[in-house]
């Protein structure tokens, strides 16, 4: 089986065997013998809302990259080198999906989702829901739910805490969230940075974050692989972050 060739990693793939200092048979052998490692590392990232297949795909592509970047003459253990690369790619995958860099926003969103889910579960069940029930209702892991609730405690102002009743469901304690403030803030910061991106990248970002399409749906719409969309999103977001940094400096 040739990992990394089973699914098209995208036109910009840098997983070519040409870069590897190994001969093709050695390269193939190193990939095949470390597939188990890629699989095991992918499993370590389960229960975060991503299917195992996707994680295994990311880990396998990262394994191929590790093989192609690996230089046996440096005397470094391949498994250690590959582990570092695969974990890095898995983390990047979640970051691209908005689970790490935008964690605080994601947690806030989940906290708000929990409010709606709690209200509806209270009606359905006639009692406050458990974390497991909230996790099921929102599609998040139990850990994420606990984290969002914990984070939500920090977001509430003291004056709101003072008026809190223990009998109130989570939703009643959230107060009103005016998303317009966020979008105004985002537009002020993002506008100038967004305009510097090529039209295609702007369009992909719009599909992902405004229209809410998945990476796979964007891939079909644009006619490239999902991995390529993932990479484009990653690089576009990086450019935006750098652009926002400049905008904030200019403003201050």
């Amino acid at each position: 089986m040739t990992v990394g060739r089973e699914k098209d990693p995208g036109p910009e793939s840098d997983t070519g065997a040409d870069q590897s200092p190994l001969d093709p048979a050695e390269r193939e052998e190193l990939i095949t013998s470390n597939l188990g490692l890629a699989h095991q590392l992918a499993r370590r990232f389960l229960h975060r809302g991503e299917p195992l297949d996707d994680l295994v795909q990311v880990a396998s592509v990262a394994l191929v990259k590790s093989v192609d970047r690996f230089d046996p003459s440096r005397g470094v253990d391949f498994a250690a080198f590959a582990t570092r690369t695969i974990i890095g790619e898995l983390k990047r995958h979640f970051r691209d999906k908005g689970w790490a860099v935008r964690a605080s926003r994601r947690v806030q969103e989940l906290y708000l989702e929990l409010g709606h889910a709690t209200a509806s579960l209270v009606q359905q069940l006639g009692r406050n829901p458990t974390v497991a029930e909230l996790a099921e209702a929102t599609g998040a892991s139990e850990e994420a739910v606990i984290e969002a609730i914990e984070a939500g405690q920090g977001y509430r102002a003291a004056s709101i805490d003072a008026n809190e009743s223990e009998d109130d469901p989570l939703s009643a304690r959230l107060g009103e969230h005016d998303g317009n403030y966020d979008s105004v803030e985002d537009r002020v910061l993002l506008g100038p940075a967004l305009a510097t991106l090529p039209e295609r990248e702007q369009s992909i970002l719009r599909m992902r974050f405004v229209d809410g399409l998945t990476q796979s749906e964007i891939a079909v719409a644009v006619g490239v692989s999902q991995m390529h969309v993932s990479r484009l999103l990653s690089s576009s977001l990086q450019k935006l972050r750098e652009g926002i940094g400049r905008t904030e400096t200019d403003v201050s």
Partner: protein, 141 residues
């Protein structure tokens, strides 16, 4: 907006003790998140620490029948780093180590190699101690 979080400084130490069950390792990860964030680690380092502490707990539980044991997690905020120590207490040895346990321990060590600056494991008088140290503001190129 969310800057109300109290910071932790060098010398601060936090302890968490919980029944040594795999499904409760989530507690260790959550506490690590909260402490690392308050100790000034960025989101990337925080994610590394969460993963690493999960592996540290798994590594501590390896080869032991932890039914009656406790895991004690100690997080120490240092000048430019965080130190985490995980100790398994009151647990009985689990008999012969299974090959898949060896494999899992090896994987945990590989993951720790990738995520933290230093780590180790030692066992003495029926208690197992693992530890790690991760510096702040040091990213791989």
């Amino acid at each position: 907006m969310t800057d109300s979080m109290e910071k932790l400084a060098a010398g601060d130490r936090i302890e968490l003790t919980f029944p040594a069950r795999g499904d409760l390792i989530v507690l260790a990860r959550l506490v690590t998140s909260a402490i690392s964030a308050r100790a000034g680690f960025d989101i990337e380092e925080l994610e590394d620490l969460r993963l690493a502490v999960g592996e540290l707990c798994l590594l501590t539980l390896q080869g032991h029948d932890s039914r009656y044991g406790d895991l004690r997690l100690e997080l120490s905020v240092l000048d430019d780093a965080i130190g985490v120590q995980c100790t398994l207490e009151h647990a009985a040895p689990g008999g012969e180590t299974q090959p898949d346990e060896d494999e899992s321990a090896f994987l945990s060590q590989q993951i720790l190699d990738a995520l933290v600056d230093e780590h180790g494991r030692e066992s003495q008088d029926g208690s197992v101690r693992t530890w790690l140290r991760k510096r702040r503001g040091v990213h791989d190129a």
